[in-house]
Structures are given as structure tokens and as C-alpha cells.
Symmetry: C2
Subunit: 243 residues, 2 copies
């Protein structure tokens, strides 16, 4: 069988895997992925062959998976969180046009917007946006436009890749844009190393957010106007209590 | 222990449960939820006591869970998809202010935006919005504003509750708003009964979308400008190939 599973493994270890994700990796003859993610799942399949590639080698990694499947082996390409949300699913499907015999199956997983939200409470309980601040593949102007529209629509916003070693001020710039429409008292929160060793989280205001000690392993949540703190957690109500 | 787990079970049966969700239900003495969702998980725990309530009894259901936990029993409140995304997590946390001894733990799950996306391909591979068209708890004007902002920001959009028996024209109205900014050729898709019996899906254009035979069990995906069809699937590229 010529098959590539693109598998979302959730935020951390085995606890967050779906049964479907586990079964797909079980069926695969080889697990492919970024070194860190392979390390998270390989203890579950100690006998399984693995092939790891460093970050920023996404195209090579996906091509390797497709070529290996074309040669007749079943491959599971492992993604952190969900397979599709800033994951490899899209890229594999784009490249798959060159490998017509290979069947690609996408296996969803719990993305950081959901796993991080659960740590903080229920910040995404009503309509929300997910925006990455990484300008590696997206022009910064487009990111700014999306932040502006998210604020204009009073969405709760989940921010991926708030900063990196090279991008030290992107979260600051994002907060300035959100503050054009959102109150400085807007309830915000962040979660670092979700579901992994060293998990940390905090609820702050939008005014405080840019001064928090965040890194590239942090997911940030900015509330809507209705978002508030209930029993110490961040909650965006859906409105049941008002009925 | 006075504990309520609010558990997202994913789209359907056991296949989509995370290990964490299964363990939380295992630890609970009683499973509470909307009748349909309890039916999906109770075969996994045939010995477990269950308490089901009909739709629209959300406040009663959450209060029952908190009261039962206050009386000393461990409760798992079961939600379809994720516990937080249009789920019960927020409401439980709001009501928990009246039950200070009860500890509430939120267990994330695969929401329809992710499980539906995996069926279609990778429609949410870049920044996206999630919007519910249900005006039961949200004024329609706010829904319109959010649709407008989502289109203005060129987000991919995932639409929950596109219509119901009573709301026959909401998707039509939503499409009209999206068409103010988005091209009628925008790649769209829908998935019905995700992960359940009778799963169906189709990729269409934004112009065709309002004429599709959708229902309240359908999740709809509207592409961004960059969204296209690759090997028959709906893909919103992140941009790796352009690098």
C-alpha cells in the first residue's frame, strides 16, 4: 500500500493522542518528523523505524514521506498539535500532486488553541480567530490586517508563534494593534510548554501582556469584550446564563 | 473528592477520544451530558451510571454536575468535539462560583473545525476564524459583523451551526456577506456527520455553497484567497513552497 498518514499528536505525550492517531502510527512502518516531536511519540513504538529532520526542512520532510510511500512503505508524518493547523497536511497534499499512486490521509489532533484553552479555562467559548505572528512565510502587513480585523470583530484571539529569538518585538507590535480597538483591561492569558514538562500559565490584562516572559513555545489568548475571570479562570461566555 | 471533569470527546465514537478524555471518564462515577453524546461514549463504560438531559437544558445540566460533585461524587460532563469551543466548559466555570469546594478540570478534544478539516484536506492551514451562525444566544448583527471582519481579513472561515430547522436562510445570508469581499470562486467545503455514520463531504465554490443540502450536523469551511484544490482536497497553503 502506498500510504502517508499525516498525524496530529496533540500538545505533548501519549495522554493527548487520539486512538485514531495511535492506530495510524501503529500501522505505519516508519515515523517521520521534526526531531522533538518524534522524541515525544517514539517511546510508544520502541521497535518502529524513525526518520527525523531538523526544523525548516519541511519541504524535504514531506517529499521524503511521499517518496518512501511511493516505494511501497506506509509512512506516518508526525505533527505537533493538529496535522492541519500550521501543520504539514497542506504541504503534503500540495506535493502529492507529483505522487499520484500515494494515498494521503489526514488525522486530526488537539491543536494548542484547544489544549492551551483548557489550561486557562474556556477563553475560546465563543467565536474566535487563530493567528500566527511568524512572518517567515507571511508578510507582516497581512498579519497586521488580520489582527486589526480580529479586534474590529471583537473575536477572542488565539496567537501562535508570539515571538522567537529573532522576532523579539512581534507580540508588542501585535498588542499595539489590538489596543486600537480592545480595552487595555481585556482579559488575556498565556500557556507555555502545554502538556509538556515545565508547563506554565498566567492570566493577565492586554496592557500587561507584552511585558510577560514569553517564548516560541507559548500560546497566547486575547479575550473578547465579554471575556472575564471566573473562579480564577479565563472564560469567554457563550451566553447561556443570560437566556 | 469534589471534582467535575468537562470532557471533549471529539466528533464521534471511541476512535477520536484522547487518552486523557478516556481516563477522565474512567475516573468519574457518573457521566452527564446531552443524550446523543452519552450514547456515543457509554458503550465504552457499560457499567457506568449516566444522567442525560435534552438539548437546551445546558444550565440545568451544568448545575446538576456541580451539585453532584459537591455531594462527593466525581462527575464527567461530556461535550461533543472540544469542551471549550461552543461547549460547556465556560458555563460550568461561570456557575462554579457558587460551588467553591468543587474542582473543575477541562479536558480538550478534537473540535469539528479540526476533524472536519481533516476530512476535506487542510482548509485551516493558515490563519482562520471560527464563527457560529446560531442566533439563539448571539444577536444576528454581531454575527454579521464578525463575518464581515473575517472576510475583510482574508481569513479561512469555519462555520458552526450553519442552519437548523428554524433557521433555514442563515447560511444564505452569511454567504451574501462573505461575497461582499470574497470571490464567488472561493474554494469552500462542508462535512456532515463528521466521524459518525452517514459522514458526507463535498468541495464547492462560495457561489454554490448556499444551494447545498446542509443541516445542523454540518460544518462549513470557506477558504481564504489562497485556498485551492490539490489532488481533490481543499488546501489553504501556509507558503512553504514559495520559500
Amino acid at each position: 500500500m502506498n500510504k502517508v498518514y499525516v498525524v496530529g499528536i496533540g500538545p505533548g505525550g501519549a495522554e493527548y493522542l487520539t486512538e485514531e492517531a495511535r492506530a495510524a502510527m501503529e500501522r505505519a512502518e516508519v515515523l517521520v518528523g521534526y526531531t522533538v516531536y518524534i522524541k515525544l511519540v517514539s517511546p510508544l513504538f520502541p521497535e518502529k523505524e524513525t526518520y527525523t529532520t531538523p526544523m525548516k526542512q519541511e519541504v524535504d520532510r514531506c517529499r521524503w514521506a511521499l517518496e518512501t510511500a511511493q516505494d511501497g512503505r506506509t509512512v506516518a508524518l508526525v505533527c505537533s498539535g493538529d496535522a492541519g493547523v500550521y501543520g504539514m497536511a497542506g504541504l503534503v497534499l500540495e506535493l502529492a500532486e507529483g505522487y499520484p499512486q500515494v494515498d494521503v490521509e489526514i488525522v486530526a489532533g488537539v491543536t494548542a488553541a484547544l489544549s492551551g484553552a483548557a489550561v486557562l479555562g474556556a477563553p475560546l467559548g465563543h467565536d474566535f480567530c487563530v493567528i500566527s505572528l511568524s512572518d517567515l512565510l507571511t508578510p507582516w502587513e497581512q498579519i497586521e490586517t488580520r489582527l486589526r480585523c480580529a479586534a474590529e470583530g471583537d473575536f477572542a484571539v488565539c496567537i501562535y508563534n508570539p515571538c522567537s529569538k529573532k522576532r523579539v518585538d512581534t507580540l508588542q507590535r501585535a498588542c499595539e494593534i489590538l489596543l486600537e480597538k480592545k480595552s487595555p483591561d481585556t482579559v488575556c492569558g498565556w500557556v507555555k510548554n502545554i502538556g509538556r514538562e515545565g508547563q506554565e500559565s498566567r492570566i493577565v490584562t492586554l496592557a500587561q501582556l507584552p511585558h510577560e516572559p514569553l517564548d516560541m513555545f507559548t500560546t497566547v489568548f486575547v479575550g473578547a469584550e465579554s471575556t472575564r475571570i471566573c473562579t480564577g479562570r479565563m472564560v469567554t461566555p457563550r451566553g447561556y446564563r443570560k437566556k
